[in-house]
Structures are given as structure tokens and as C-alpha cells.
Symmetry: C2
Subunit: 332 residues, 2 copies
DNA sequence: GGCGCCTCTTTGAACGTTCACTTCATCCGG
DNA sequence: CCGGATGAAGTGAACGTTCAAAGAGGCGCC
């Protein structure tokens, strides 16, 4: 009810100590006697004191905020929600917050980054949808702006901080799984070459197929990521001389499309087994549900925030990076 | 390159005026002579001055930030991304930002709201997924915390600020459209009663059916919002004595499920026409694409931010609300 | 006993902005 | 030529926190 703001000075008076001691109780407890700490803590509770973030930010010259650009259709598909949730969660645990912003055209995008940093609104950024020759990482380094990528930059990957999920390993796992279930003609359905992550996923499939001594001919399908063209591509592959009995897909969108394209046999069962990527709820809810490769988003977010905080703490240090393994979620 | 921070004082010196005059140029231009304004503006540009947000926030006791709770699976489906984008966009235009946060369990949820406000991290909140007897609006009012709902609270709706999309009107439009295309047996597929928004959408279908003098028997299907059970429910309705020739759906998830459930005839065409709700990309990409009722998200976000800003400006004023009309996007 | 050292606490200042008030200059009517 | 009104610009203080440095007190060592 709009009670008057209670400040650190109020707490200090009630606890019979100085402002600084209250501050120390909160920020550097080891400097304060246990007895004093108790007194201050109880004063804090009694007054329901909560430190003012703007004042703190002003003084320490940091916003404790991570900027995230949310762009219109979002290349991440329905992964975005779940990633944002995980990111906000991990950030909070580290005393940070996630701030959303948008920028219509590419030329205002960099201006937006600059603005947010110059005004002290954010301390840095998390970047997603890292393109094959994305100009942003280099630009950020030039400006000295802290950032962590979700997805590895393909060029100069040692120079930037990033966290990625090993797509190659994921699709290879999917192939192993299908082989163990008796499949031998396993097709791949994913993005055309040039996306980076898509290439990795396709490479994992190819590698695993070779490892099992299986043929790739007539098994590779690429198309835009929409259920419609995925369905069409699946149908095309199924119409070939040696039709696949299973599909490994670059995303759940492809997978849902593939399921559509397969159609059902007399018993109502899909004519081919489909394994997706991302483990989206939509895929899990199909009947029968899709197996899918799950990205460990909470772990991804944790690492991103961790790397971010370290970047802030020591901007001069060599950027680190983390490659996490996804996990196949089998559903039958 | 970590150049030394340029402050309002630097600008003042360069322009040969006082701090306050620079501040006025930015915040109250009418108080300043055009000639002075020009001099100050050019100094600002030369120094690339950007006002520090923390300092401003501290002084004016406002964060110019709207809090948004992003919860794990998100009842909004893939609407969430697009809504967040729109919200961030509208907020920016009004000088605000959107800050994400999470809270695991319900008991920490209120603590989280409190914390963000008490620390001055946010000025208020945008609430989504307003339940039929949601405890939050009343709680916020009691605490004097500004908020705007996306979706109307069903109880005490005059007491809170909200923006909603008229679901009733949307499904009625869908029925009109299908009738104009010659359909007479039009089924509804949506949530079980008790969600509020779901009830509206079903009511719109029912009302329009009656208006056209069409029978409702064997036409109402409710089930959880997942493609699997939607498909099953659609199959069940199609197996009835007078099977529907079209489906109006409460969401695109239901719609995609219905499409699955219909299967295809010999020519590969779906056995019933399906109209979705939300106009998600997934629905548009099916072949043939789904018609769907589009929520005007940019307008929704604009109104939400507008109402929010007004709440802040005059917390005592009677809360306003806006009901927007969705628009059917026909696709054939 | 005097000195240095360590631990805990306090003090004044500073972060960069805007508010409230004052000063200064100009203009106009009488 | 004066008095008051009007408008532009400047001044000191304040927002609430943490930093840097200094103060107080106790302890051990020579």
C-alpha cells in the first residue's frame, strides 16, 4: 500500500549500527561479527527491507541484467519459450535478470545493442541464432561488450564464449537407437546446408550410418523447416526405390511433417518411425508419440549464465566454451 | 573499448550550459530555447552521450520496466513467443522494457512479485493465463502494485485493467465463414468448460450455429489441448451418425490434431475442413494450410502497455480495459 | 609498556541523474 | 522609467547504495 520506502539507513538505526555494516551483512557477511549479523538480520526482517536495485546498480556501475533480443518469428521454433524460461531461471540464481528487447531492421540492431550498454541498462547479451558467418561476435569483441552465444560461431570459434549442444552426437544417437530397433534404411530430414547447426546434425546422421555400414543413397532429404515441405520431402523419399523405414529429423517441426508425410497403414500405425530433435511438447503429444533428441536447456542456460558472469568478472580472460550432449528420449 | 563514461556534466561543459539545461533538452524540450537545444544536441552527438538509466531510475523512483513471469510449459502455446515479441516492442516504444522472471512454486510466486517491486526492479507486471478465479488481480490491488492482464479476469472484471481478444467473436466468424462455404455440420473442438477463454470460444461457435439455425447435436468435442487427444476426439465425432464436415477449434493445437484425426481421402485431401485459432506458423505451413483466427497481438501489446503507463501515471484512476476483435485468416 | 597487527566498524564521498528553488534577463503596460 | 509578469538557465540537494579510507578496540610480542 505504497508504504514509505525503507532504506538501508532505517535498518542501520534500528539495529544500532552504521549503513555500511548493514551493507556488509548483505554483501560481505564474513566481515561482520555473528552477533551483529543477527541483530541486523532481524532489523531487516522487521522492516521488510529490500535493497534498492537502481541505487546499487548506479553505485557499482553494473545493471546485473542480461539483454536478449527477441526477434519476430524466431529461428528457434518452440524452443524459444523453454530456453527463455531456463535462461531467466539460471540468471536469477546468479543475481541477474533477463531483459527483452527488439529491433526491427539489421541496421538498428547494432544501435540497440549499443544503446542498452551505453545507458547501463544491461551488462551484456546472450546471442542466439548464430549464423554461419555472423557479424555480431566480432562486433561485440571490438566494442568490448560482454556476450555469450547459444550456438557456436563457426568461424573463430576459439575467440568467443559460447555454449552449444552437440547436434552431431544427437543424431548419431538417434541412428544408433533406430538400428538397435532393426532399422537399416534410415533417412535424414533437415535444413539445407549452410546453417551450421543443421550441418552438424546431418553430419552426425551420416557418420553413424557409415559406422553401421548402412547406405546413404536416397536417404538424405533437405527442405525448409515447415511441416508442409517436410511432409512432401518425406513422401518423395518414401516413393523411392528403397524407401526408408525411419526418419531422423533436424527438428521436431521436420519430424511432425515427416509423420504427416508417412501417413498410416491399415492398422492406423505410421508407415515409418520418426525421431525428432528438441523434444517439444507437440512431438510428445502425437499418437503414437515421437522419440526425440532432447537439448538439456537448463544445463545450457546454467552454463551460459556462468560464462557470462565470468566474462564480466574478468573481461580480459580467454573466452571459454561448453559443448553439451543432448539425450535421446525414446518413446514407443 | 571501455571508454570513460560520459555524463550529463561533460555535455553541459561542452555546450556551455548547466547540467539541468541538458536534462531539460532531453526531458522537457519546451523549456529550452531552440538555439540552446541545438548547441546541446550537437554536444550530445559529439560525445555520444547516453543518459545513465540507473541514475535516472534512482532519482525518479521508477524502473521503467515491466515484469513478466515466464512459466515452464506456458499455457499460451506458441503464442507466447509472438506475444513477448510484441510486448517488448510496444514497451520499447513507450520507453519501457520487459524483464523476465520465473518462480517455481505458487508460494514463491507472490514473493517474487513483491521482491521485484520492493527492490524497484520493475514498476509493475503484465499477467497472462488469467484463471477463472485467479487470486492474483485482487492481491495486486491490495498491494497497490500496477498490473495489466492479458485476458480478462472473469470475476470483478470491472475492477482490473485488462486487454483481451474476443474469442466469442472469433469462433463466430469461423462458423460464418464455413457456412458461406456450404458447410452445415460444423463441430467444435476445444477445452473442457472452466477456462474462461475456452468457454468464450465455444459460446461463439454455439451462438453462430444457432443464428444459422444449425444443429449442435454430436458437434461439441472437448478434450485436453494436445494434438493426440484432439485427433482422437475428432475421429470420435466423425464416427457419429451425422459426421461433421468441418471443425472450428479453440486453438491451432486442437486444429492440427483435428487435421490428423480426419485423415485424407483417396485424392489426398483432408476429409473435413478445419479452422484453427491463433494463426500459428505451424498451422499455416500444413498442406493444405489451415484457416485460422488471428489474434491481433501487436495491437494487444500496444494497449497493454498503454494501460500500464496510465496506471502508473494515475494509480487512483478507475482501471480501463480493451476488448479487441480477432480476424479470420482464410486459407484455401 | 609500547608497538604493530589484525578484526570489526564507522565516516565521508561518490555514482549520474532530476527536483525544487533561485537567479537573471527580457518584455510590456502604465 | 518603474514594477511586475514571464521565460530561460543555473544551483544545491537528494535519490539509496557501496567504495575507500580511517577509527576503535583487542591481542600478542619483544
Amino acid at each position: 500500500m505504497a508504504r514509505p520506502t525503507v532504506t538501508i539507513a532505517d535498518v542501520a538505526v534500528l539495529a544500532g549500527v552504521s549503513r555500511q555494516t548493514v551493507s556488509n551483512v548483505l554483501n560481505a557477511p564474513q566481515r561482520v561479527t555473528p552477533a551483529t549479523t543477527v541483530r541486523v538480520q532481524s532489523a531487516i526482517q522487521k522492516l521488510e527491507y529490500r535493497p534498492n536495485r537502481s541505487a546499487r546498480n548506479l553505485r557499482v556501475r553494473a545493471s546485473h541484467t542480461i539483454g536478449f533480443r527477441i526477434n519476430s518469428p524466431g529461428g528457434l521454433g518452440d524452443l524459444l519459450d523453454r530456453f527463455l524460461h531456463a535462461l531467466a531461471n539460471s540468471a536469477q540464481a546468479a543475481g541477474y535478470h533477463v531483459l527483452l528487447f527488439t529491433s526491427a531492421d539489421p541496421q538498428t540492431e547494432f544501435a540497440a545493442y549499443d544503446d542498452l550498454v551505453q545507458t547501463g541498462t544491461v551488462d551484456g547479451f546472450v546471442l542466439t541464432d548464430i549464423g554461419i558467418a555472423d557479424p555480431r561476435p566480432a562486433w561485440f569483441v571490438r566494442r568490448g561488450i560482454p556476450f555469450v552465444c547459444f550456438g557456436q560461431p563457426r568461424r573463430n570459434r576459439g575467440e568467443y564464449a559460447w555454449v552449444d549442444v552437440d547436434g552431431d552426437h544427437g543424431t548419431a544417437q538417434a541412428v544408433d537407437y533406430l538400428v538397435s530397433r532393426g532399422h537399416r534404411r534410415i533417412a535424414y530430414l533437415g535444413w539445407p546446408p549452410g546453417t551450421g547447426y543443421g550441418d552438424d546434425r546431418q553430419a552426425g546422421w551420416r557418420r553413424a550410418m557409415r559406422r553401421h555400414g548402412l547406405s546413404l543413397t536416397g536417404m538424405a532429404g533437405t527442405c525448409p523447416q515447415d511441416a508442409g515441405s517436410a511432409a512432401a520431402t518425406a513422401r518423395r523419399l518414401l516413393a523411392g526405390k528403397t524407401p526408408p523405414t525411419a526418419f531422423v529429423c533436424g527438428s521436431d517441426t521436420f519430424a511432425i511433417g515427416a509423420r504427416f508425410g508417412c501417413g498410416a497403414d491399415a492398422a492406423g500405425q505410421p508407415r515409418a518411425t520418426v525421431v525428432g530433435f528438441d523434444d517439444s511438447p507437440a512431438a510428445a503429444f502425437l499418437t503414437p508419440p515421437l522419440s526425440s533428441v532432447r537439448q538439456p536447456l537448463p544445463a545450457v542456460a546454467d552454463h551460459i549464465v556462468d560464462l557470462f558472469v565470468r566474462r564480466i568478472a574478468d573481461p580480459g580472460a580467454r573466452p571459454e566454451s561448453v559443448l553439451l550432449r543432448p539425450e535421446l528420449v525414446p518413446r514407443d
